[in-house]
Amino acid sequence: MKLGAALDALRQSELDLARKLREVAERQAAEVDVHHLATALAEQCDRHAEGLEPFVERYADGGAEDELLGDLRGLYLTAEGVIFGWIQVNQAAHAARDRELLELASELSPETEAQVKWVLTKAKEATPQALTS
């Protein structure tokens, strides 16, 4: 079973996120809400990583991650970045009262959302087979 590699990667991601949250908390100390919440969320991530540990061990002897899943993961992360970008543009277009840009954002961003849903659907279907059979 290749589930071990996926579990280990997830644990690592949780720790990465915790580290980044703390870095941001430190860098943005003057943005007090960001500072406090990022610190609290980092603790959540630590707990998540800890919760995963026994399962990383349980499935430790599996092989490397499936190539298709790796690709889907990459797509998902990039597409989420694009969604973030569209959210920013949409918000800014509102503030700038740029009707044309607003129209563009409202026309195109649902397509990005559908892209993310597709990647997730495909990944959800492919993962059980790739990691357990």
Partner: protein, 755 residues
């Protein structure tokens, strides 16, 4: 009776709108039967009521059941002659196992132990995901339900699908997207009442012969309904049509969007009904706005005025019956297009009333039951894999842990099962009553998967098919007439089929084979009792009745006795949705729907946000061109299809002498313009090539659309071992609809050469 080969539809019995379709009893008897046994035909999804004549322990003929609602006595050529396959000399009579590369006869114990042993070892080593089943549209409810429980609750594998994926998956998908649940809205009897009939990608004359007889009797009756036919081929229906739209292959969505736009623009919409009974009108209006008749005419390459005329006939209809089949389901944007047909009937408020219906047809005779029992992409009883309560209901019924039942995603579709086998994560594939070595796309690839050393292939069948030849173990199956059971046609009519004769040799019903397998695997419920608690057909059926209770496909009132007393009874009544209420409550719905372009699954929350709650969902779709289009190297659109004399891969019809003589070998249909441009004469041998293979056959010059080459898909290699130049699927493309996952058989690029 006229000659059913020369004239497959027989003498006309014209009738008027609303009148009873006159009876006409067709029969074919070779020896005077000692007794008649009640059944229904299994050679297409029409499911005509038929009595089987028996003499001296053999089937000696058939006659149509006059009392049956589906056919009122009539039978098509396949029904009249196909039964002879039961008596064929080359029926499989004993199990076979592969030894030193050869399939050799053995006893049931040896064969079954080999299969159970391999399954047990794989389950222990690699888990349920290493086991797959690929089944058919030919079994009975009793067989399917047994398989569903065995695989979902016993083995716990998501990899169970049928060849119904090739014929009927889009019908189910489109019904789920629009109405929240599978289930044919209309009835075949809507032909009696319609004043306008809309055929979209359906060659009814050849695929549902008897319902075409019914349609012809209306067309030749005193108040002829208007007929609109969408088909690139000049089919018998196209020749009868008021408007024939021979559109460019793969452009259904563009055409349907233009028709919808016309309905909206010309105010041919039942606004009050639409407001009350549907959601999504605004999105549909926006999506179809650019599809003027002129724009669609460019995409579809038919005159804009013909599109307008078709829309006008539909728009001014008082009772509209729409009929859909493979020209939609196996083509580009299958589910999206099928949904637009649903939308047309919804906009007109024409559903659930006499003559007002949608028939999202099925291909095979019992494909409806794979859908209902959960042997394809659904859970048993039209239950929703995304609804934990539905999964719990099944777990309680089967007395297993809900976690045993795979419901982390939709059950695996056929093409993905073969992909897993290709990649090696499926190591055991049991193929039941179907012939993927002829019927799946891109056969070179399919043969190489089935021949893989690491893949253990089990085949249950009545004949040594092209697929069985590649198996490691072959079980001989009892078929129609040799076992009792029930099955359901395309308009939800449930028939009981009595056992007429004993199976040949040691052949067994598939239900019995699965029960034996489950026993040898030691599959048990939570209390340690055997998982499958039935043996006889009646016991299996009773278990299914229990499972179906409370769901739309409710069989609990349709007992064997009730079915024996009558002759075909529909579940859900004559028509669904007569009250304009649709199964779109989130707690009840079978499916939460998909993005039609990508197939991304919607969550319960997204579904609830539509606010349907009992209303139908108008789902729009933009046109997108087919994946593979003709180019300089491959300038033709290849389309494959069916002919009136054959069913599927001819395992039965190829063994009925009259049918076999009527259409003994493959041919290639070309338009007159293409034939004359290439200097090809009618009857001349031609070769059709695609990037994947080649097929050779005599040319038939037809009135089909220019640029389209048609090849019937029925022909394989069991009776012609000369290379791989006969099966249309040597040429087809590995691709499927993103929502229904139905493979694409209607749009591949090809070229035609003279060898």
């Amino acid at each position: 009776m006229t000659d059913p080969i020369a004239d497959p539809w027989g003498e006309r019995t014209p009738y008027a709108e609303g009148a009873k379709w006159p009876d006409r009893v067709d029969s074919n008897v070779v020896i005077q039967p000692e007794r008649w046994v009640q059944s229904a035909c299994v050679l297409c999804s029409n499911g005509c009521g038929v009595d089987i004549g028996v003499a001296d322990g053999r089937i000696v003929g058939v006659r149509g059941r006059q009392v049956d609602r589906v056919n009122q006595g009539r039978l098509g050529p396949k029904g009249l002659y196909g039964w002879q396959a039961n008596n064929a000399d080359d029926r499989l009579r004993r199990p076979l196992v592969r030894r030193n590369g050869e399939l050799v006869e053995t006893d049931w114990d040896t064969a079954m132990n080999a299969v159970a042993g391999r399954a047990r070892r794989l389950l222990g080593k690699r888990g349920p995901g290493s086991i797959g089943f690929y089944t058919t549209g030919q079994l009975f409810v009793e067989d399917y339900y047994t398989l569903a429980v065995l695989t979902r609750a016993g083995i716990g594998t998501p990899h169970v699908d049928g060849n119904t994926r090739l014929c009927t998956a889009t019908a189910a998908a489109a019904l789920k997207e629009t109405f929240g649940c599978d289930g044919q809205p209309g009835t075949l009897a809507d032909v009696d009442h319609a004043d306008t009939i809309f055929h979209v990608g359906v060659n009814l004359a050849e695929t549902q012969t008897v319902t075409w007889m019914r349609t012809l009797d209306r067309l030749h009756g005193p108040d002829r309904p208007r007929l609109i036919v969408v088909d690139p081929r000049e089919t018998p229906a196209a020749r009868e049509a008021d408007v024939h739209l021979p559109i460019r292959s793969g452009t259904n969505v563009a055409l349907l969007n233009a028709i919808i736009r016309e309905l909206l623009q010309r105010d041919w919409v039942d606004g009050g009904w639409v407001d009350e009974h549907t959601v999504g009108l605004e999105g549909l209006e926006e999506t179809v706005a650019p599809y003027t008749p002129e724009h669609a005419a460019e995409i579809c390459a038919v005159p804009a005025d013909d599109i307008r005329r078709a829309a006008e006939l539909i728009g001014t209809a008082e009772r509209l019956l729409s009929v859909v089949l493979q020209g939609v389901y196996q083509s580009n944007q299958a589910t999206a297009a099928a949904c637009q047909v649903n939308n047309i009937n919804l906009l007109r408020g024409m559903i659930g009333r006499p003559g007002c219906g949608v028939l999202q047809m099925n291909g095979q005779p019992t494909s409806q039951n794979t859908r209902e029992t959960g042997c394809d992409g659904d859970l048993s009883g039209f239950r929703n894999w995304q609804n934990p309560k539905h999964v719990e209901e099944l777990a309680e019924l089967w007395n297993v842990d809900p976690l045993t039942i795979p419901h982390w995603g939709p059950p695996t579709h056929a093409m993905q099962i073969f992909r897993y086998a290709e990649k090696g994560s499926i190591g055991f594939l049991w193929i039941v009553g179907t012939n993927p070595a002829v019927s799946l796309p891109d056969l070179g690839r399919i043969r190489s998967i089935l021949a893989k050393e690491e893949l253990f292939v089990v085949v249950s069948d009545a004949f040594m098919t092209e697929t069985a030849e590649l198996a490691d173990v072959v079980f001989p199956s009892a078929i129609w007439g040799e076992k009792a059971g029930t099955f359901t046609n395309a308009d939800r009519t449930v028939h009981f089929s009595e056992q007429a004769i004993e199976p040949p040799g040691e052949a067994r019903a598939d239900r019995e084979i699965f029960v034996d397998f489950a026993k040898r695997l030691g599959l048990r419920d939570k209390d340690g009792d055997p998982l499958l608690k039935w043996r006889t057909p009646e016991e299996a059926y009773a278990a299914w009745q229990e499972c179906s209770k409370g769901r739309p496909c409710n069989y609990s009132e349709l007992s064997y006795d009730a079915l024996r007393a009558g002759s075909g009874l529909p579940w859900g009544g004559e028509r669904l949705y007569a009250d304009g209420r649709f199964p779109t409550d989130a707690d009840f719905a079978q499916d939460y729907g998909h993005d039609l372009m990508t197939g991304a699954a919607m969550s319960r929350m997204e579904f609830e946000a539509l606010g349907a709650n009992g209303r139908a969902i108008l789902k729009p779709a933009d046109y997108r061109p087919p994946l593979e289009e003709p180019d300089g190297d491959y300038p033709f659109f290849l389309t494959t299809g069916r002919v009136v004399y054959h069913f599927h891969t001819r395992t039965k019809t190829g063994r009925a002498p009259e049918l076999e003589e009527a259409a003994p070998d493959v041919w290639v249909e070309l338009s007159e313009a293409d034939a004359s441009r290439l200097g090809i004469e009618d009857g001349q041998l031609v070769r059709v090539e695609s990037p994947r293979g080649a097929v050779e056959g005599p040319a038939r010059v037809t009135g089909n659309r220019e640029g389209v080459v048609f090849i019937p898909f029925h022909y394989g290699y069991w009776d012609d071992r000369d290379g791989h130049r006969r099966a249309a699927n040597e040429l087809t493309i590995t691709a499927w609809d993103p929502v229904s996952k139905q493979p694409v058989f209607k749009t591949a690029a090809a070229r035609v050469v003279v060898p």
